[in-house]
Every structure is written in C-alpha cells, then in structure tokens.
C-alpha cells in the first residue's frame, strides 16, 4: 500500500458509511458487554435483518463511549446528528430501531440530552475514535484519518523531525511519572545499537484505572500507529505491546488489528511503500503489578520473573536483550498520531504551560456517573467530580479523591479547585499516575484506605529488595493495628519512619511510591489516625474496633516471643 491507496481506502469507507441512512453504534467495551451489550447488538441486527433494512441501517459494535456505569450505551448517528441512549435493553433497542425507521421519537426511552455534561465537557483527542468507530475494522480507523500521520511522517519527515515534533508538543508520559516523551525518544534515537525496540506498556495494574484497556479495546490501531511512529523516529524495527493478562478483549482486538495492518501494508515490511519495516508482537502479562515498572516489564517480555533491575542503565541505553529500548505507556503512544498528524503547536495549545494536551481519567467510586473521560490538563477536580461526574450520589459529601492508585495519594475536599496537572498534583503529595480517580465520600475511612493500598503493595512486591519486601508487610501490620484499635502512638511513629525508609531506599518505583497513600492520608487526615489510636473510634464506621485498650509494651513483647503466625505462610 502506498499513501494514495490509503486515501482511496478512506474515501471508499466514508462513502460506504454515508450510504446508510443511519448507523447505530453499540458500545462493545468490557463494562457495556458485562451489562448485556451483545444482546442489544444482536437484537438490533435481527431487527434490521427481519425488516430488510440492511442497506439503510447498520448496527455497529463500537468502542467505549464513556459513561460506563450507564451502559449498555447506544449511539444513533444519522445525517450528521448523534443521540445517545443509556441503559439500553433488547426491548428498548427494538423501540429505538423502530423509531429510527419511522422517524419518530421512541415512546418510552429518551436519549441523553445533547448538553449532557459528562459528554459535552470533554475534549477528546486520544479517545477521538472511541465509541465512534468499529475497532475491529481497520477501514473505519483509516476513514477517520488513521495512519495519516504515519504516512505523512514516512514520506515527508525525517526521524529527527518526528522526535522534534514530539518534543515541541510538550507531551509527557501518561503512565505516571510524566517524563517528557520527546526527551525519551531522542535518547533512544541517539543510543548506539543495531537493534532497537519499541514497547507499549499496557500492563495497567493500578486498581481502579482502565484507561489503557479502553484505548486498546476501542481504538487499537491508534496505539499501533503511535508505536510505528516511534519505531520510525528511533530506528526500531520491532515493537511489543505488553497487555495485562486480565485484558482478554484488548489482547484479542490488538491481535486482529496487527493482522489487518500487516495485511494492508501498514505494518510489516516496507510500510506504506517506504523503506521502513516495523513488526509488532503481543506479550501477555500474567498477573504482576510490578511489571508496570519498565525494567520489570522488560524482564517479563524476556520470559523471566518480573523483577526490576537497578537503573542506570536505563532502557533507552540497555533494555531488551541489552539493546536500546523505548518504553511508553499505551495512552502516550495513542496521543502521538494526533501530535504528528495535527502538529505540535495544536497539541501544545491544549492544557497548561507545563502539562500540555489532554488526559484520560477513569472516574469511579462514589460518584454519580462513573466512566472514562478525557479533559484538558488543568481541568479542576471540582469540574471533574461535580460537573462531569454529576457529584456524589445519595446526598453524601465529597471527602477525597484518590489518584495514582497504590503509588499515589489523595486530594481532600479543601483542594477541589486544584487544577489536575502533573505539578499541582505533586504539590499536593499525590501523582497524576495513570489516571485513575477514585472518588470517596464520608463513608470511606482513610486509614482503612491506606491499609488497603499497603495490602496491595505487600502482595505485589517482587521481593528483590529488602526494604520493600519486608517493609511493606510491617507497614501493613502497623496499619492493621491502627484500624483495629490496637495501636499506640508509638506505632504511628514507627509507621512514619518505615514510610521514609521504604520510600527512600527501595530498588524500584513500586517500593519508592508504596508509602505515598499513607503519607498522603496522614498529611490531610492525621486526626482520623489519632482518633483510631486514642479513642478507638472510626468515624466512617468502616473499621471494627477492638473493645479492650491496646496491649501494653509487655503484651507486645509476649506476642512477638510467641511468634504470631501471620498470613506470610
């Protein structure tokens, strides 16, 4: 395929789509499928077949539309107009289909209002095609402008130009730390090495975050195109997508997308008629959070235990099989086609001066509408929770938002007006992380939440370095004493000291950030900790507190000497 063929393919597909009077898109993302979207789609397909409407109406399985808690979602698109229905059943799907045919309003189901804030307040760049195309048809991605950026880059830009463009856009890593993507690419480009690799990190392990899964499910070609652009920019011919093991659907869609792209000459040898060769293979994770850490992830790709190694050397110098390797998050790669296609300036104009572009968040927890949103960097937490998310359900009060998962921290109500960008969140003692935002109301107990995350880190620690392996267990034990009403203020001091040790001396990011949920909740909710310890009281009513006072020093010593068997073995 050469660039002209790509244009023809896009035009043909656009014509085909315009030939329908109406296209009915049914979200086929994991949450909507769980809610019964495939039955809805089947009903629509049957209805169309029975009515002999094949030429007029096309039911389409699309990617994620956003408000996942309101699924299954159905989008009716006709003559440039779009309406979205929520919580669709096969019954209401039949009504919707009937109304489309007759050109009337369905009698008992009504669509979401056109200014529905959850949708209207977003700015979709990475998610532009999510919920708008069928992720399993490459033609639809191409018709939406897909592979245009790659075609442009291969024929009109040098690899240096691509690196420069990414640098100028101000794009930063969307996986957590926010390292400037352009710098990473330039380092990998300059690193000497005959073979180089591009790796997309889709091992989205933060509980409560599913942006990457949704991107891979809803728009897999965007990730592949971003990776191919990276391959061209740094001089790599091989890429790997590391997909979290739990994400079967994402893995399957990526597999299909790679096959289709290779068949069309958009991946493989001599991509789009150029001299650039690029193959992508999938590697499947097997249930280890630490593999989100780049050196662990590479160990896992090479078929080993996912244990990190000391950096330097950094992956850009010595990565897979000792070769320079570029690792970016899936969302970062998904932003690249837009950066290259629409220009760095356009991208840099979105967001704040230091955090440019948009960010996808998985909004969930105690919020009216849970789902996936994409907003410009710098949007305030208040806008996200109360305008887009519709506020806190059942008249409860907002207490805090947890961001960055087990590596992050919380943002309390006093900072609702904080703009969500890398710097502001860091100032508050949390991190942007991959984009999970868990909203908590007054029924959440902060020491309990911290204990939850430490339990997670303890379980996910790889065991290579002593501070993380043992320190996280000891921290979790101390937190459990606090949440069970058996701790002393001395335990709190020990906990804080351990936070410092584990955060400072651990080998990799997992250990270094494991104390964050404790430090952050202590920073804003120290009273709650004191309440648990001194009054043996849990205001949220989550912790079951011991009846008797904390055992004194003697009691503790006795426990130690007896060796209370824990959950260790």
């Amino acid at each position: 395929m050469i660039p002209a063929d790509l244009r023809v393919m896009a035009e043909q597909e656009r014509e085909r789509q315009e030939g329908f009077r109406c296209r009915i898109l049914v979200c086929a993302g994991t949450p909507c499928l769980s809610a019964g979207a495939d039955a809805v789609l089947e009903t629509l397909r049957q209805g169309v077949a029975e009515g002999g409407l094949d030429a007029e109406i096309e039911p389409v399985a699309s990617g994620c539309m956003g408000p996942c808690s309101r699924g299954p979602l159905v989008k009716v698109r006709s003559r440039g107009k779009e309406v979205i229905y929520e919580r669709v059943t096969p019954e209401s799907a039949r009504q919707i289909l009937f109304s489309v045919v007759k050109g009337r309003k369905p009698p008992t189901v009504s669509p979401l209002p056109p200014d529905f804030p959850f949708l209207a307040r977003q700015e979709r760049v990475v998610l532009a095609n999510s919920g708008a195309i069928n992720p399993e048809r490459i033609e639809e991605y191409v018709a939406a402008g897909g592979y245009g950026a790659l075609s442009h880059a291969l024929h009109e830009m040098t690899p240096d130009d691509v690196c420069r463009e990414v640098s100028l856009s101000g794009l930063r890593g969307r996986g957590g730390a926010g390292y400037p993507t352009g710098v990473k690419w330039s380092l990998a480009r300059k690193a000497p090495g005959e073979r180089k690799y591009v790796v997309a990190n889709g091992d989205e392990g933060d509980p409560g975050a599913y942006m990457d899964r949704s991107i891979m499910e809803s728009d897999p070609h965007r990730v592949l195109e971003g990776m191919a652009l990276a391959g061209y920019a740094i001089g790599a011919e091989q890429g790997f997508v590391y997909v979290r093991g739990e994400y079967h659907l994402a893995g399957r869609r990526l597999e299909g997308a790679i096959r289709d792209a290779e068949r069309k000459g958009l991946l493989g040898s001599r991509v789009l008629g150029s001299n650039f060769n690029f193959r992508i293979d999938i590697r499947t994770g097997a249930g280890a959070f630490v593999c989100g850490e780049e050196t662990s992830l590479m160990a896992s790709i090479m078929g080993k235990r996912g244990q990190p190694w000391n950096r330097p050397p950094y992956p850009a110098q010595k990565g897979l099989w000792g070769n320079p390797t570029l690792i970016n998050n899936v969302e970062t790669f998904a932003a690249v086609p837009a950066v290259v296609g629409r220009g760095a300036e356009w991208f840099a104009a979105i967001g704040t001066p230091k955090s440019r572009g948009t960010k996808v968040y998985a909004l969930c927890g105690q919020v009216e509408i849970a789902g996936l949103i994409e907003v410009p960097m710098g949007t305030t937490l208040r806008e996200v929770v109360f305008e887009i998310g519709g506020g806190i359900p059942s008249g409860k009060r907002f207490k805090a938002a947890q961001s960055g998962g087990p590596s992050g921290g919380c943002i309390p109500a006093a900072f609702l007006d904080t703009p969500l960008d890398y710097e502001s969140m860091e100032r508050l003692g949390t991190i942007m992380g991959s984009g999970g935002l868990i909203i908590m109301d007054e029924t959440s107990c902060m020491p309990d939440v911290a204990s939850f995350f430490l339990d997670f880190c303890r379980d996910e620690s790889c065991g290579k370095c002593a501070p993380c392996r043992v320190g996280t267990v000891e921290m979790h034990r101390l937190l459990r004493r606090i949440t069970s009403g058996t701790a002393t203020m001395d335990d709190l001091a020990k906990l804080e000291e351990l936070c410092e040790l584990v955060g400072t001396t651990s080998l990799c990011g997992l250990g270094m950030t494991a104390p964050n949920p404790v430090l952050s909740t202590l920073r804003y909710f120290r009273d709650e900790y004191a309440d648990h310890i001194r009054q043996r009281r849990c205001a949220a009513g989550v912790c079951a507190m011991a009846e008797s006072p904390a055992p004194g020093a003697g009691g503790e010593a006795l426990l130690h000497a007896m060796g209370v068997p824990g959950e260790v073995e």
């Binding site: 949450p31 996942c68 309101r70 392990g205």
Partner: protein, 193 residues
C-alpha cells in the same frame, strides 16, 4: 552440561503425549521457535489448555525451551495467573480493586468465605468451587464486581453473590443475565485470572 540438553521427549508420559490438549502447547512452542523468552506465553497456553501447570508439563516446557527447571518454577509461581494445582469445577472471582473496595467488595469476600468454608485463593474441599480475588477487572463502573465462571455480575452484594454462587454449583452453569438472549460469544476466559 545442563539438564535441558537431555533427550527432549524422554520424560513425557504417553498419557500426556496423547492428550489432545497437549497439541496447543506444542503448537505454541513451535510458533515461538522454542525460544527461551517465550516461556510465559507457553505457560499461558498450557495453563489455559489444562487448567493448571503440572510438574510434568513444566518439565516438558523446560526441556523444550532449554531453560532450567528452577526458572520455570520461579516464573510459574511469580505470576498470579498460573496455578500449580487443579482448580475447582467452578470459579468465583471477586474484584478487590479500589473502586470495588470502596463499594465494600471486602464484605462479599468475607461472606463467601464463610458461606463455602474456604479461604480466598483456595478450592472447597469437595472441589466444586475455587474462590479467588483479583485486583481490578477494569469494570469499575459496575463496582462491586463478581465473576462466576467468566460471567460478570456487576453491582453485587454479599447476598446476591452468595446466592449466585450457590446457584452456580447447583445448576452447573453460570446464570444468564436477564438481558442476554443467546449464548454469549465470550467464553469462560472473561476476566478469570
């Protein structure tokens, strides 16, 4: 001299060699050209075909890929996906990701543990049910989530989960949601680790 250089098929029992499930493993080995770095991919396929990784399977994979036995065991136990013991007839997975936790999925786990007298991660004595937890299935919009034999049940409660698990064991198959009208295309894999 490493053990992997021994005659490659010598240890394979006739029962395993003639097992139809074994062909998937062989195909994957071949597909990856017996490269050591394919270990995890091969274990994935083996686990899916057999439900768990027996010593004999791991031994075979080690010899074929020419990696030390200890490394195969190290990898198989490092990753939570792999199980070295047969699983129960049915599986019940409770999501304990943050969103589900905040919506009290811990209570569901406790209730199921009590109801079936089994600790999370284990199989009941009668081999009927394996109860496990998973860190976020990415269906946070439906929290709290329970997965019964691959069927996701969103917005679960301790009562609904216990009732559904009992029905699963009694009826031998996961119940269809009221909206589903035909067999689902997504098989048993949906979200079960």
């Amino acid at each position: 001299m490493r053990h992997a250089d021994k005659q490659s098929d010598s240890s394979l029992s006739p029962a395993l060699a003639s097992d139809p499930r074994f062909t998937a493993v062989e195909r994957t080995l071949k597909q990856y050209q017996y490269r050591p770095d394919a270990l995890i991919e091969v274990l994935h396929v083996a686990q899916e075909a057999f439900g768990f990784l027996s010593d004999e399977l791991m031994d075979h994979v080690a010899r074929q890929l020419k990696v030390p036995l200890s490394r195969v065991y190290g990898v198989a136990t490092f990753y939570h996906f792999f199980s070295l013991e047969p699983r129960g007839e049915h599986s019940c997975v409770v999501c304990t990701g943050t969103a589900c936790y905040v919506k009290r999925s811990g209570e569901i786990v406790k209730r199921l543990e009590g109801e079936f007298d089994v600790k999370g991660g284990n199989t009941t004595a009668d081999g009927k049910l394996t109860l496990s937890t998973v860190r976020c299935l990415g269906s946070c919009g439906l929290a709290p989530v329970v997965v019964l034999d691959g069927e996701i049940a969103g917005r679960s409660t301790p009562d609904s989960a216990a009732a559904a698990a009992h029905r699963l064991i009694a009826e031998g198959k996961p119940e269809k949601k009221p909206v589903a009208e035909r067999p689902r295309r997504r098989g048993r894999r949906g979200g079960t680790p």
